[in-house]
């Protein structure tokens, strides 16, 4: 087996036993990038191989000298291109930021570096993280490594594809409505969206600030736990960051009498039969090892997509107002007054989906419609949260499909924005409630595409989710 195809856990053990060096791992990953990248196109930017090898060798030398190294020592980490990297171009897959070189690192990037992980490069995504397939990138189309006619999912499609194609060992993503979990399920990798506030958003280019969360993509549950442990923690630079204890016991046995909530609203019309079968099989496997399946109801589920798109677009229209061609980002070449300059810069710099969401968000916040749309959605969001609070009286975690179908073909849904929005139907709720949620592979479709199951729980229940996921992984 190639080093690039191994888990971080196994590589760490090999490094400890001196069976491989960090430079060997880096060379293997760079080989895979050279081989797979022409068809997968997961990366917008790969750093200079010479620099990468030099950094890997430096870690090797520290190990040789017996100096202490961090938990990610020498492991390549791919970073979604909406996370700022000092001195390394960060485009958000937009023409607007095509030449943007951040003067600082996102806190999560800094934490990876402090843990001696090596930033490999920047991965493709939907422009400004708006989309569900990574097709909205202004840079390139990323393809699903399992079948390159299919989408990798989105918006962290580049990160998920890179992990699945062995073009990296670990990856960072962001999740506003399913953008880590859905591509993880489409590409057959593990994806975690942590509790809102548990991982710093400082240096994450904002889309919808009350929903955005940074998280981890990895080859298995253990690797996701390793990366999450590095990312989690309080950050004074993020005013929504929670000051809570570090997550512990991520890989211990799940509780003896685990109650798994199975929400009936997630197993209705629109759910693909193969996905349903795979998810039910996963839950049965846990049940045969002592878990209890509890039928629950989350009655406001059908309102999640309307609520989500009102809130996300409203926040986007406000957040993206900063792109005015003045201080950084794209500026038009056309002449005119300052309003002309701003309008032309935004019109030329933003892609179609970004414009659609800014316009929708501007509308739902505009005078006369604010109450009917935005305020109503904010109140309905409370009803969704209450559904979950109520449900957690009867169960410890909730499980359901990550997405209604496996990956679909490239181009299949690009002409119908509403059909695309409905892809997120199961995943947006964790962002509305701020809960942690994980996507874990649980089977394959007959067409050879991966299927993922979502495990979610109350705020800060990541240790429980990991324990359940770890057990499930051993059973499937």
């Amino acid at each position: 087996m190639k080093l690039a195809a191994m888990t971080a856990g196994r590589l760490k053990a090999m490094l400890a036993r001196k069976e491989a060096s960090c430079a060997d791992i880096m060379r293997s990953v760079l080989d895979e990038i050279e081989k797979r990248e022409p068809s997968v196109r997961a990366f917008i930017t790969v750093r200079d191989p010479a620099d990468l090898l030099r950094e890997a060798e430096k870690v090797d030398q520290r190990v040789l000298r017996g100096q202490p190294v961090g938990p990610l020592a020498g492991l390549p980490v791919a970073v979604k291109d909406n996370l700022c990297t000092q001195g390394l171009r960060t485009t958000c897959a937009s023409k607007m930021l095509a030449d943007f070189v951040p003067p600082y690192d996102a806190t999560v990037v800094q934490r990876v570096k402090e843990a001696d992980g090596i930033i490999l490069g920047k991965t493709n995504m939907d422009e400004f993280a708006m989309g569900s397939t990574t097709e909205n990138s202004a840079m390139q189309t990323t393809r699903n490594p399992w079948n390159t006619d299919y989408v990798p999912g989105g918006t962290s499609g580049g990160s998920a594809a890179a992990v699945a194609a062995h073009e990296t060992i670990l990856a960072l993503g962001s999740d506003t409505g399913g953008s880590i979990r859905q591509p993880a399920s489409y590409c057959g990798v593990v994806g975690l969206k942590p509790t809102y506030g548990r991982v710093s958003r400082y240096g994450l280019i904002a889309y919808a600030s009350s929903l955005d969360q940074v998280g981890a993509l990895a080859r298995n549950v253990e690797d996701a736990a390793l990366l999450f442990s590095v990312l989690a923690g309080h950050d004074p630079k993020d005013s929504t960051s929670l000051d809570v204890a570090s997550p512990e016991g991520l890989l211990s046995d799940p509780p003896a009498r685990l109650r798994i909530g199975v929400p009936k609203e997630f197993f209705g019309p629109g759910l693909d039969a193969e996905v349903q079968e795979a998810v039910e099989k996963a839950m049965s496997a846990l049940a045969s090892h002592g878990a209890q399946l509890v039928r629950i109801s989350l009655p406001h589920t059908e309102y999640a997509i309307p609520i989500y798109y009102i809130i996300a677009c409203a926040e986007a229209s406000s957040n993206l107002a900063r792109y005015d061609g003045c201080k950084y980002g794209y500026r038009t070449k056309s002449e005119g007054n300052v309003i002309d300059m701003m309008t032309a810069s935004r019109t030329e710099g933003f892609g179609e989906e970004v414009k659609r969401r800014i316009i929708l968000g501007t509308y739902v916040l505009s005078s006369g419609y604010h109450d009917a749309y935005y305020n109503k959605a904010a109140k309905a969001r409370t009803l969704i949260r209450r559904d979950y609070d109520e449900a957690y009286r009867d169960c410890d975690v909730i499980m359901h499909p990550v997405a209604p179908t496996p990956a679909f073909k490239i181009g299949e849904k690009t002409s119908d924005p509403l059909a695309m929005y409905l892809v997120d139907i199961y995943s947006v709720i964790a962002n509305l409630t701020g809960s942690p949620a994980m996507s874990v592979p649980c089977g394959m479709s007959r067409g050879g595409l991966p299927i993922g199951v979502q495990i979610t729980g109350p705020a800060l229940s990541e240790p429980l989710l990991f324990r359940v996921a770890y057990q499930l992984e051993g059973l499937t």
């Binding site: 929504t240 933003f350 316009i359 505009s366 109140k379």
Partner: protein, 94 residues
Amino acid sequence: MPGNFDVQYVARLARIALTPAEQEKFGAQLSHILGYIEKLNQLDVAGIEPTAHTVPLVNVARPDEVRPSLTNEEALRNAPAKANGLFVVPKIVE
């Protein structure tokens, strides 16, 4: 409400210019999406507190003390136009 959705007017508020073809396309697509969003009107939310965000934190501020920040040069490095340590923009005051 979707009936009187004036896409050109809203786009102008957002400082985005649409071609006539885009007006037609976006207008139809956004009316379709707003039609779906209308579903929310089935819900009675009277007396429900809105959720703005999900963390139990309010008014988080750091101590009011001077600390290192970007230099002038770093802050201007990504500027589309600059001169004399300043951003250059089209004339604003007539």
